[in-house]
């Protein structure tokens, strides 16, 4: 007896394979996404990236925002340290002052009652005193320091002859500040007495309406009456030794310095990449020849040849000298990148996936653009970032020894060069360019460090 086996159609349904597929818990990241994530994760690197972008924005937009002519001289405010905006008092035009004479009534070796004939201003300081019997004359000293502690009277700015002379007018390069005046009596041999009369004077910045119009501060002088206040051109970071606005020069200098600092590395890294990948890819004789040339160029003493090449290209009248410097930097800078890229290419060429790709019939162009360049991109990017500070340094160095950008074109290096001459009396002229060079180089160095970590393949997938 046979057992009837009954099949239902359902029995012929295929058994569904219910394999437990591994589901990735998060979407896969490409190399660049991963690098970017790590870069953002490092606060220091992200901050330096922001700083670099801010510097770029400053160089591009700065001169528009602060649209002061970097070559314009403000002769009223020369070597001015950073300060709040200042104003000047409008006064009548200068009128000559007749010397005051008085019959000496008192004996002694020092004048008395030294005082101001009228309020002291930057136009003139007018001193009067009671003369001394038997004096041959009077010497007037002016100091910018207090004379009392060590009896340093400062500069002898004038001498009047005759016992009856009782006044002196000082108009020499007056600034709005405190002066210490001293008057010394001279005897018949014109020897100066040791005693002196002293007066502390605070000068007020004044300008006549006519001068204000001449300097372009007002359209028409007649709107100003004596006693009005007029605002002076404001220099937030002060002025340099020629009265040029430091902020404007720093912003224009950013264009020059950053242009050289960024474009030159871009160009020589590009040359280096082409040279190095050609050497690494073609190999053999070509490789040897190309690398020998690179070896020679690398052996040249860098700074000596920067100077030589720069003068060999020459600077014509009216040129800024930026272009020769660019060419010189590119000519001398490319070999290190070329070596690096060649090494990378040689390494990548031996990788299994390249061989696999070749087996699958990939052409040279495909190999280069799909495998070689993306693989070496990280290293190239890091090199580029580190090349920027060194190019900025080179520009600053050359400008500093007077071989760089030709004046009056401002660059940070040439500003530092000018500032170093007056660093004792006006340190701000050196401080600001020095600070901005250091800050820029610091930002690029930190960015380079961060990029190196972020683009490091070994660090993939880590936070």
């Amino acid at each position: 007896m046979s057992v009837a086996v009954r099949f239902s159609p359902a029995d012929f349904e295929p058994v569904t394979a219910r394999r437990q597929l591994q589901v990735s818990s998060r979407p896969s990241l490409s190399y660049w996404q991963d690098s970017w994530r790590r870069l953002k994760g490092s606060r220091r690197t992200f901050a330096s990236l922001c700083a670099v972008m801010a510097l770029g924005a400053m160089a591009v937009a700065g001169p528009w925002v602060w649209s002061v002519d970097p070559a314009a001289q403000d002769i009223d405010q020369i070597s001015q340290a950073p300060a709040w905006p200042s104003s000047a008092l409008i006064v009548p035009p200068y009128t000559p002052w007749a010397a005051v004479t008085a019959t000496p009534t008192q004996a002694g070796d020092v004048v008395t009652n030294l005082r101001l004939a009228e309020p002291a201003s930057t136009q003139a300081v007018r001193l009067v005193w009671e003369p001394v019997v038997g004096a041959a004359g009077y010497v007037v000293y002016r100091s910018v320091y207090d004379t009392a502690p060590d009896r340093a009277l400062g500069l002898p700015i004038g001498e009047v002859l005759g016992a009856d002379q009782a006044s002196f007018e000082d108009r020499l390069d007056l600034e709005p500040r405190r002066y210490w005046y001293s008057v010394v009596v001279t005897d018949e041999n014109r020897a100066e007495q040791s005693a002196y009369a002293a007066l502390t004077v605070d000068t007020v910045r004044t300008v006549s309406a006519g001068d204000a119009e001449l300097r372009g501060w007002v359209e028409d002088a007649t709107v100003l009456a004596p006693g009005d206040q007029i605002d002076l051109p404001y220099h937030p970071l002060g002025t340099d030794y020629l009265g040029r606005d430091m902020l404007a020069r720093l912003l224009y200098g950013a264009r020059v310095s950053l242009f050289i600092g960024v474009v030159a590395p871009l160009l020589f890294v590009l040359v280096g990449v082409v040279w190095g990948s050609a050497a690494g890819f073609l190999g053999g004789r070509v490789d040897q020849l190309l690398m020998r040339v690179a070896d020679f160029v690398i052996a040249l003493p860098f700074l000596l040849f920067m100077i030589l090449f720069k003068i060999a290209f020459g600077i014509g009248p009216g040129e800024s000298g930026v272009f020769p410097m660019l060419v010189a930097l590119v000519l001398l800078g490319w070999p290190s990148t070329a070596r690096l890229v060649r090494g990378q290419i040689l390494q990548v060429r031996q990788e299994g996936y390249v061989a696999a790709s070749q087996l699958l019939g990939a052409r040279t162009g495909y190999l280069v653009f799909r495998h070689m360049i993306p693989q070496t991109m990280g290293v190239i990017l890091v090199t580029l970032t580190f090349a920027v500070p060194s190019a900025i340094f080179t520009e600053a160095f050359l400008s500093f020894i007077g071989m760089g950008v030709a004046p009056p074109t401002p660059s940070w290096g040439s500003m530092a060069n000018e500032g170093i001459r007056t660093m004792l009396s006006h340190p701000h002229e050196l401080l600001f360019p020095a600070l901005i060079i250091s800050a820029t180089v610091l930002a690029f160095n930190l960015l380079g460090d961060g990029l190196r970590d972020a683009l490091d393949v070994r660090m993939r997938g880590r936070e």
Binding site: A299, P301, L308, M403, S438, N445
Partner: protein, 310 residues
């Protein structure tokens, strides 16, 4: 070792020849007449002057004369300083630059190794963080800024003390040399510190250190004999280029501190288009740097036998 040495020396000679040629080409591409500021009042004097300096001959002949001069170690007579031989200028001023450079390199190497080892020992702790912060600062500030501000600081210190602790500028005694060589070596020192740190960290996590620890060697011995000795190797390799960077970087320091070195002569010669002085100093510097690199390479081959096989 001998073949390696000979090969390196031969390469060095070819390199110096290349440097000399490049200098010659660059110099002859310079616009302007080097005799223009001379006292050539008429044609005859101009011709005589050209004859004296060999400028009347074709460029190819000048090149041969120039190379011949180098072979004999004679760089000719200065264009701007009457009757002064370039050799004398180099002989008088190079020792100053060299002393400054050697002190700076010594300072940089010692400081770099010391601080690098320290930061690696105290990894991620306070000394490490402080030193690495100073290092990144030292790399970022140009040497002329450091020079200028150290001068300012010296002035203040001397005024405060009431006597001259260290001179602000000039050259002569060892006291003059301390500050300029420190300023000159600072950037390189910072660079070497970083290098030393990473190389120390790499060594610390290597197997033979673990073996040494497992053997129960005292930590001081592990540190000195195993870690430090091996970690110094990469530092030695970059010493050659570092010497090059320091000697040419010395220009600025010489300028700021008023040191009568060769760098100042070079800058002056370039400004006055003094052909012979420029070519002489460049070739001399180039030869010096190339030989320094060779010496360091040989030294490295001696320290690390693996290199010689290449």
């Amino acid at each position: 070792m001998l073949t390696y040495t000979l090969k390196r020396i031969l390469q060095g000679i070819v390199t110096v020849w290349f440097i000399a040629t490049a200098t010659f080409v660059a110099m002859h591409a310079v616009p302007g007449d080097p005799l223009a500021n001379q006292r050539a009042t008429n044609e005859q004097i101009q011709r005589n002057l050209e004859q004296r300096y060999g400028l009347d001959r074709p460029v190819s002949e000048q090149y041969v004369v120039f190379l011949g001069g180098i072979l004999r170690g004679d760089f000719g007579i200065s264009f701007t300083q009457e009757n002064r031989r370039v050799n004398d200028i180099i002989r008088e001023n190079f020792p100053v630059s060299a002393t400054l450079g050697i002190l700076a390199v010594a300072f940089a190497a010692l400081g770099g190794i010391l601080f690098g080892a320290l930061t690696a020992l105290f990894r991620d702790r306070l000394p490490d963080l402080v030193i690495m912060f100073l290092v990144i600062l030292a790399i970022s500030v140009p040497s002329f800024v450091v020079a200028a501000f150290s001068q300012l600081a010296l002035v203040d210190i001397n005024v405060y003390l009431g006597f001259s602790l260290l001179p602000v500028a000039g050259w002569g005694t060892l006291r003059h040399m301390i500050v300029p060589s420190m300023v000159l070596g600072l950037g390189t020192m910072a660079y070497l510190t970083r290098l030393m740190r990473s190389s120390m960290l790499e060594i610390t996590s290597s197997d033979f250190i673990r073996t040494a620890r497992a053997k129960g060697l005292p930590p001081a011995r592990i540190f000195l004999k195993h870690q430090l000795r091996n970690a110094v190797l990469p530092v030695v390799t970059v010493l050659g280029p570092a010497i090059a960077a320091i000697t040419t970087g010395g220009f600025v320091v010489e300028l700021v501190f008023a040191i009568p070195g060769l760098g100042r002569y070079f800058v002056e010669a370039v400004q006055q288009l003094d052909y012979t002085v420029i070519m002489g100093t460049t070739v001399f510097y180039g030869a010096f740097l190339v030989s320094m690199v060779i010496v360091v390479d040989l030294l490295y081959g001696w320290i690390d036998p693996r290199v010689r096989v290449e």
